[in-house]
């Protein structure tokens, strides 16, 4: 009986996710190139995998991705947690302003990437003028998306604009889960506000914070849409995240065998990292 309820979902996932995945694993051992698909399918063993893992460029892309993930998640944690602490003071109208702050994360990342290119245009966009207002640097003297030194920070900036509210929302739930009596007991013991934060607030919100970090890190490791539209990996390949490399190999160079192997490597990485992280998370929760 139970199976009748679950079977349609499992069948759909098998057809749309698992069957293609298995097919992709098979293809990763071939030299299939879709722009030359008239060639007979040739099995090349682990060649694709060794090609990828010994390719310096791929390692550079992975480094770029790691730097993007670390910096964007770190900034989002700092801003998100800070905002959550402030909003938790329950000032008048906090609910309305929270909703406003949440808006960016609900938008389509592709559309966000697209309209930020207008905002960041050196001459016609408002962003450089605002910076110029505060620093005095002429607005057309720098380009946030066109300069090698700035572009990696630009994708971090826009991603943080979009996702700091996500961390905020989860941390806010963590703060609200702390029962009042703990603070009351701390007051009785004359613990300072600083001490209360380090001994009560922070430890009790760590599981929530880690959950937010887990979700954001996985999502940003897979990041494609927003960056593809904002910088499309440029200038040069300074913001070419690994998903963009994958898209180029698979859908521009049509190297299906090679890109299947790369896709599998990425998938295993995400999965492995997530599993290790979840275990760490459970340990923190048990404490």
């Amino acid at each position: 009986m139970a199976w009748l309820f679950v079977a349609p979902t499992i069948a759909l996932l098998l057809a749309i996710n698992i069957f293609p995945l298995v097919w992709m694993i098979r293809l990763s051992f071939t030299s299939l190139n879709l722009s030359m698909s008239y060639l007979p399918l040739r099995f090349v063993g682990l060649d694709n995998f060794t090609d990828i893992l010994t390719d310096e460029d791929v390692w550079f892309r992975l480094q770029t991705t790691a730097q993007f993930v670390i910096w964007s998640v770190a900034l989002q944690v700092v801003i998100g947690y800070g905002l959550a602490l402030l909003i938790n003071r329950q000032f008048r109208g906090h609910s309305f302003w929270t909703t406003i702050i949440l808006l960016p994360m609900m938008l389509s990342p592709a559309v966000v990437g697209n309209f930020w290119t207008l905002l960041l245009q050196p001459q016609i966009g408002p962003f450089n003028y605002v910076i110029s207002l505060f620093t005095g640097v002429p607005p057309s003297s720098f380009s946030m998306t066109g300069q090698v030194s700035l572009a990696p920070w630009t994708i971090v900036l826009v991603d943080t604009w979009m996702w700091a509210p996500y961390v905020m929302l989860i941390c806010l739930a963590g703060l609200r889960s702390i029962p009042d009596y703990i603070y009351e007991a701390a007051e009785v013991d004359r613990a300072s506000a600083w001490r209360q934060f380090w001994s009560i607030t922070l430890p009790m919100t760590v599981p929530f914070l880690m959950l937010a970090v887990l979700f954001r890190a996985i999502e940003n490791f897979k990041m494609f849409d927003m960056v593809n539209l904002l910088t499309s990996g440029g200038p040069g390949s300074t913001t070419e995240l690994v998903s963009i490399t994958l898209k180029r190999a698979a859908f521009e160079k049509w190297r299906t065998g090679y890109s299947s192997a790369l896709a599998i490597i990425l998938f295993v990485t995400v999965f492995g990292a997530a599993n290790i992280y979840v275990k760490a998370l459970n340990k923190v929760k048990q404490r």
Binding site: M1, A2, R89, W116, L169, A173, Y183, L266
Partner: protein, 320 residues
């Protein structure tokens, strides 16, 4: 520090003092205003003329026009002033607006079909995902299913794969099945992505409904399906609605699959918007107009979902 503490103790032990509330409030409002400015800029750009939109330096004050919206919905051709002078007088306000720019409307643009695609694919995949998800979530919540935890993890894990990676085999499979660039293909794909979210969220909602009601209904001779339909569903209605909105938002916003697997027939709004071009590059007022129209439903949904937002973005892991 001690003074502040003494003050807060006088007020209430755990409630923040009025002064700290005021400081917190002003900082949050400052952040909210800064964060919303980019969106307001885009909404404003939609009402700029082509030259105001790319003015250097950028214009904060400008004369509003509906040109951006007209350009978004039409295809225009440039004509000589002589030719335009010979035409019969313009019939509508937008004809008039276009002719002031020495152009003539040649026909409707593709924006309406793309919008319709977004709606059909969004609602189609949402309906299917919520339907399948409700059945599965009910089973996971009420029956003893062998390996339930593993199955739930499997369902979730399908969502962890990078979309570009998933698109590679899907592209090959859809080519064989003639599903590339079809609405059906996109509906099936989005359903598969959304169903994992739907199962996890709905299981949480159904878990919260006491079993006693259905058990009473079953004793009264209802079948399982009847009990689900007449007892559980009415109580789960808010949860189902919230889940549906989350699925709809995902399909509405999705870009990677759409750009890799559709090119015309089934193309949705996100891959279409960046390629609204005028004479010499992106037609920013039209792009901004499309963005505004595309984002308005999301803003409404965010306000509607406010209470369930946290659950939705954490797959039901955090509930309050």
């Amino acid at each position: 520090m001690t003074a502040a503490l003494a003050k807060s103790t006088a007020h209430s032990i755990v409630e923040a003092s009025p002064r700290s509330k005021a400081v917190a409030g002003s900082l949050v409002i400052l952040y909210a205003v800064i964060t919303i400015l980019p969106l307001l800029w885009i909404v404003a750009t939609a009402f700029k003329s082509q030259s105001d939109a790319i003015a250097y330096p950028p214009k904060v004050i400008f004369e509003p026009t509906l040109e951006g919206y007209v350009n978004l919905f039409t295809v225009r051709t440039r004509q000589t002033p002589d030719f335009i002078a010979k035409l019969p007088p313009p019939e509508t306000w937008y004809d008039k607006l276009v002719r002031q720019r020495d152009m003539v409307i040649a026909g409707p643009s593709k924006v309406v079909p793309r919008f319709v695609n977004s709606l059909i694919i969004g609602f189609g995949s949402t309906f299917l995902a919520v339907f399948l998800g409700t059945l599965a979530a009910y089973a996971f919540s009420r029956f003893r299913i062998p390996l339930a935890d593993d199955l739930l993890f499997f369902i979730l894990s399908t969502r962890m794969m990078p979309p570009v990676a998933v698109a590679i085999p899907i592209y090959l499979m859809y080519r064989q099945l003639n599903l590339t660039d079809t609405r059906l293909g996109m509906i099936l794909l989005y359903t598969a992505v959304n169903v994992s979210l739907a199962v996890w969220l709905l299981k949480g909602f159904i878990d919260e409904i006491p079993r006693e009601y259905e058990e009473a209904a079953l004793v009264d001779g209802y079948t399982r399906l009847q009990a689900l339909r007449k007892v559980v569903l009415p109580q789960a209605v808010t949860g189902i609605a919230a889940t549906a909105i989350f699925c709809l938002i995902f399909s509405w916003n999705e870009y990677a699959f759409a750009v890799l697997l559709t090119s015309g027939e089934a193309q949705t709004m996100p891959p279409f918007i960046p390629f609204i071009i005028g004479e010499g590059g992106q037609d920013w007022p039209a792009v901004a107009a499309a963005t505004t129209l595309f984002v308005v439903p999301i803003v409404l949904f965010t306000v509607l979902l406010r209470k369930h937002l946290l659950r939705g973005i954490t797959f039901g892991a955090v509930r309050k």
